[in-house]
């Protein structure tokens, strides 16, 4: 112990005595450790931290995957059966989802209400901080309404007053009694924001009669010790019954899904998260290679010291310990500075972050992250310190030979190879992401976003409880928008490309005139999307009409039933034929939809699966502004997007629109953007990740250049005498520079080759993050390599130039 104290004290003194060395090493390490730590805190919740529920790894989301519904679900009726019969779970509960609701006593606000079963909180192991959970009796359709407040809402609206328990509030216009308050760290398993938790109050008698009934999300707590696979296996018999009860075409496409809440929350973010974390580690490794080289060059100057220590009795273990201690002390100093850098990086990244990356906004440098930084610092100290510390002390040189010659260290070259290789991998990864992003953004959308403004509305449950109220609002909205100054055309739609259509349907539910129904082998025939739009939709968005016509006012007459198909849809339903004039029937059980529609036009395809050039078949129906419009039969009919083609700027138009809407409904929030902005928003996440990676790649590149600069500098200093002799013997001054650059560039070359191999290996893994570019794209790889070589050689050349300035006379006097 006293040896350790002594080593630490001595190390600190060493560092203080060489402020230049210490500063460079600490800054370099701080960058590396800061980068890694920042990335760790960004991805910690995604990758490592467990969900905030007791024994959270036992909690799973359970359900069936089917093409028309996103994520796993169960029909309420199946849920009741499964709840009764399942043996896989110690707790089994459900939620019918989160939706907008209005708190409407004095100063009304829109919040979100999560509707859950009474067993939800107990299954998740959550205790209200005040009051209680609702009882099974309160979770009945006819029971008086009760609710739990989120901690945030309790604080902001009720000032954290415990007296609210038992008080009645008005929720969507209905009196509701507050029975409890959720804890501050409560998190809905889907990460949906929840202000109020209410009983879902499934009406079991209705559900039992209705095969396809409402769709709910199901959660289970596995028996202790069970794995997800085991739980899934136990559910198989129930799932098989479910499949048998489904309509035959669906049977093939159904899958049982059981996955952890962690998986549910982060699904596709995981790969990007690993990518970011790996890039942080890459920067750190480069930094370690740099500092390793610095430490090696320090130890050249201290060989006498180590030899003396060995002579007076320090064993190799003891010397190793001392030198490693020095490296670790250095690394911890770097780590401390790195934490500061990490705080800055995290703040910046959180500020820049787009929505939709789970948990990103919660990232901060907390105790757990500091522990991580400490461990990373220790590891880096060991990484860059071990190799120099293993050097054998040259005891014999103290007596036998007086000059301590330059030992050519293969380690130094190893460090160069490592950092060059890693930098190539980082750079090529960043370039790939940037190319992919550009591809995403330049892929034709199939519409014209210029001069188009978008406004989105969402009607509250309380004021617009039924089709009639919603329809009435939409009708007036359409008229008002068209009358706004500067608007040449305007339209309403339930959703806008390139986002997915709000509604989808299995192809099997459509019947094309003159075509036999799908054969059983075709299953449901895939999924198609549809949108309900007003007639000007196509011209406002600049969607090309290929044949026939788009909707006109006459199509809105009660008796008219017309359809417009996109090209993909036309080809899918009427291969090799002209679809115009053909009849399409919607074949659902619901007799309201058994109407015959006439195809009147074919439009060009627009991207409708997000960015990335994918198009699924899609058809359009016209919004007639009638209460029996098809859209009102679907949930979410309260959402509407308004598009307008106008030459005036967005803020002016927004003001006009707000004024106009305020006359209709003063409480309704209006979000306005240009269509260009709302498209660009879809590319935010890939852009964010590309930007993060690019910053790290640049940091890696610069660190590598600095590292090479350092090595060559030292080489020149150590070989001044040799260079002087060469020059004295008649070598051209430039030849020494060439010699230095050449001897280094060989190792840079080896590093580049290693980097290319590394990039090819990493590529396999990056594939799914890329669009329109192969992960092994030769051009990108070549560019990354060339860029790196250029910067690295510059790093070598600048100090090597000093070799030409060596004065042969001075060099010969050097002893």
């Amino acid at each position: 112990m006293s040896a350790l104290v002594q080593d630490v004290r001595y190390s600190l003194r060493q560092l203080r005595k060489k402020p230049g060395f210490t500063a460079v090493a600490v800054i370099t390490l701080a960058l590396g450790i800061g980068a890694t730590t920042a990335m760790f805190s960004l991805v910690d919740r995604i990758l490592f931290r467990s969900v905030p529920y007791p024994a959270g790894d036992q909690l799973v989301s359970v359900g069936v995957i089917a093409p028309i519904i996103e994520g796993e679900f169960l029909f309420a009726r199946s849920y009741l059966t499964w709840r009764h019969q399942q043996t896989a779970f110690s707790g089994f509960t459900s939620s019918s989802g989160v939706s907008d609701c209005d708190l409407s006593d004095e100063n009304p606000v829109r919040v979100s209400c999560g509707a859950v079963e009474s067993t939800f909180l107990p299954t998740f192991g959550i205790q209200p901080v005040a009051g209680r959970n609702f009882t099974p009796a309160e979770d009945q359709p006819q029971a008086p309404r009760v609710a739990l407040l989120s901690y945030g809402l309790w604080q902001s609206r009720f000032g954290g007053d415990r007296g609210v328990i038992g008080r009645s509030i008005s929720l969507d216009g209905r009196p509701t009694r507050i029975v409890g308050v959720l804890p501050g760290n409560f998190e809905f398993p889907t990460l949906a924001h929840v202000g109020v938790l209410v009983p879902q109050a499934l009406d079991e008698s209705i559900v039992q009669r209705n095969l396809m009934g409402p769709v709910i999300r199901v959660f289970g707590r596995m028996q202790p010790g069970d794995t997800v696979e085991q739980a899934k296996a136990k559910l198989q018999p129930l799932f098989q019954d479910f499949v048998q009860s489904a309509p035959p075409p669906f049977r093939k496409v159904l899958r049982l899904q059981v996955h952890t809440i962690q998986d549910l929350q982060v699904h596709d973010a995981r790969r990007s998260a690993w990518l970011l974390l790996a890039s942080g580690w890459a920067v750190l490794l480069i930094a370690c290679a740099n500092v390793g080289n610095l430490v090696l060059s320090q130890s050249v100057g201290r060989r006498k010291e180590f030899a003396v220590r060995a002579v007076v009795g320090a064993g190799r273990g003891r010397l190793f310990q001392q030198r490693l201690t020095e490296s670790i002390v250095l690394a911890l100093a770097g780590g401390a500075a790195g934490c500061g850098i990490a705080v800055l990086i995290v703040r910046m990244f959180v500020a820049l972050s787009p929505g939709g990356i789970p948990h990103l906004s919660e990232a901060s440098v907390d105790g757990r992250v500091l522990v991580f930084a400490g461990i990373v610092s220790l590891i880096s100290g060991v990484v860059f310190g071990t190799v120099p510390a293993l050097e054998k002390p040259a005891t014999e040189t103290l007596v036998v030979a007086n000059t301590l010659g330059v030992r050519r260290s293969a380690l130094r070259q190893l460090f160069i190879v490592t950092q060059v290789g890693i930098a190539v991998v980082l750079l090529s990864g960043a370039l790939l992401l940037i190319r992919s992003l550009r591809n995403l953004q330049t892929e034709p959308l199939g519409m014209n976003t210029q001069n188009v403004l978008v406004a989105k509305f969402s009607l509250g449950q309380q004021k617009y409880p039924d089709a009639g109220r919603q329809r009435a609002f939409f009708e007036v909205l359409e008229q008002r928008v068209k009358q706004l100054p500067g608007v040449s055309e305007a339209a309403l739609s339930d959703s806008l490309p390139p986002e997915e259509p709000a509604r989808t349907m299995p192809l099997i539910a459509l019947e094309a005139e003159g075509h036999p129904p799908l054969s059983p082998g075709e299953g449901i025939g895939g999924v198609v999307g549809w949108r309900a739009v007003t007639p000007e939709y196509f011209s406002v968005l600049g969607i090309r009409l290929l044949r026939g016509r788009t909707f006109a006012e006459q199509d809105r007459l009660p008796a008219a039933n017309t359809l417009v198909l996109n090209e993909a849809m036309g080809r899918r339903m009427f291969p090799g034929e002209e679809p115009i004039g053909k009849i399409v029937r919607l074949r659902a059980d619901d007799q309201h939809l058994g109407v015959a529609f006439t195809v009147i036009g074919i439009t060009g395809d627009t991207q409708n699966q997000g960015l990335g050039g994918r198009v699924v078949p899609e058809y359009y129906v016209v919004r007639k502004h009638r209460d029996d419009d098809i859209v009102f039969r679907y949930p979410d009919s309260q959402h509407i997007s308004v598009v307008a083609r106008t030459a005036i700027d967005a803020p002016t138009w927004a003001t006009e629109l707000r004024n106009s809407v305020a006359a209709l409904d003063p409480t309704l929030p209006v979000e306005v953007s240009t269509l260009g902005q709302s498209v660009a928003r879809l590319a935010e996440r890939p852009r964010y990740i590309a930007a993060l990676l690019l910053q790290f790649a640049i940091a890696g590149l610069l660190l590598t250049a600095v590292g090479i600069y350092g090595v060559v500098s030292l080489l020149v200093t150590q070989r001044t005498q040799e260079i002087g002799i060469r020059v004295a013997l008649g070598a051209a001054p430039g030849s020494a520079t060439r010699l230095m650059v050449l001897s280094t560039s060989m190792w840079i070359g080896v590093g580049a080759v290693a980097g290319i191999l590394g990039a090819l290996i990493a590529a396999r893994w990056m594939g799914s993050l890329l669009f329109g570019i192969a992960p092994t794209d030769a051009k990108t790889l070549a560019e990354a390599t060339l860029l790196l070589l250029a910067v690295a050689l510059l790093g070598a050349w600048i100090p090597a130039r000093r070799a030409t300035k060596v004065d042969p006379v001075v060099a010969l006097r050097y002893e």
Binding site: S2, A3, Q6, Y10, R13, Q14, K17, K304, E305, A307, V308, R309, A310, V311, V312, G313, A314, G315, R316, G317, R318, T395, E396, L398, V399, V400, N402
Partner: protein, 241 residues
Amino acid sequence: MTETGMPLIQIQDLTKVFYTDEIETHALSGVHLSINKGEYVAMSGPSGCGKSTLLSIIGLLDTPTEGRYLLNEKTVENLDFAERSRIRNQEIGFIFQSFNLIGDLTVYENVELPLTYRQKMPAADRKRRVMEALERVGMAHRVRHYPSQLSGGQQQRVAVARALGGKPSILLADEPTGNLDSRNGEAVMELLQNLHREGATICMVTHDPRFAKHAQREVHLFDGKVVAEEQLKKLMADVQA
């Protein structure tokens, strides 16, 4: 210190060959040497004859290519690095021509250094030993100085103190006066002589005949072998002829 008269170092038929690139250098070829406890031996001979090589083998800095070496009646020629470190630390004190103090450590810390490498020596003991050694060489008033703040003669005295602090069985010195002017050189020689009088065993390499006379016995090396004094003179004459 130790009982005088007993053989402390016994070296038989020792050879040392250096292999560098394709050249073999026979630095020592068949050396026999024995040093008794309490003896003061001076080693001399022309440059390159192997004095330093022999001293570094005696001091366990280097290993012989062949031959036997008994230190305190224990065979030591084939020990590993760790064992040699330990024995060096306990049994051997070194004094170098170029002092070899560590510039980053104070006088006190330099002298303390060998003791810190010993297992479980109480701090108080350590301090006492360091101060004793420094007083012995007359440097106790400079404990807080760094080597660069001392004259050459002072540095060498500190180096002697460092060698003494561990109470070694033998002091080895390679041209301890080589980097000193004659006045300082004599002071160091006087110090060694005093130490010898008090019972220390010393083996010193020197090419200065005046200093060699201080010793009880002179060993002459020539071309890697120990030779008698008359023989040395003859050989030297031959070389010059």
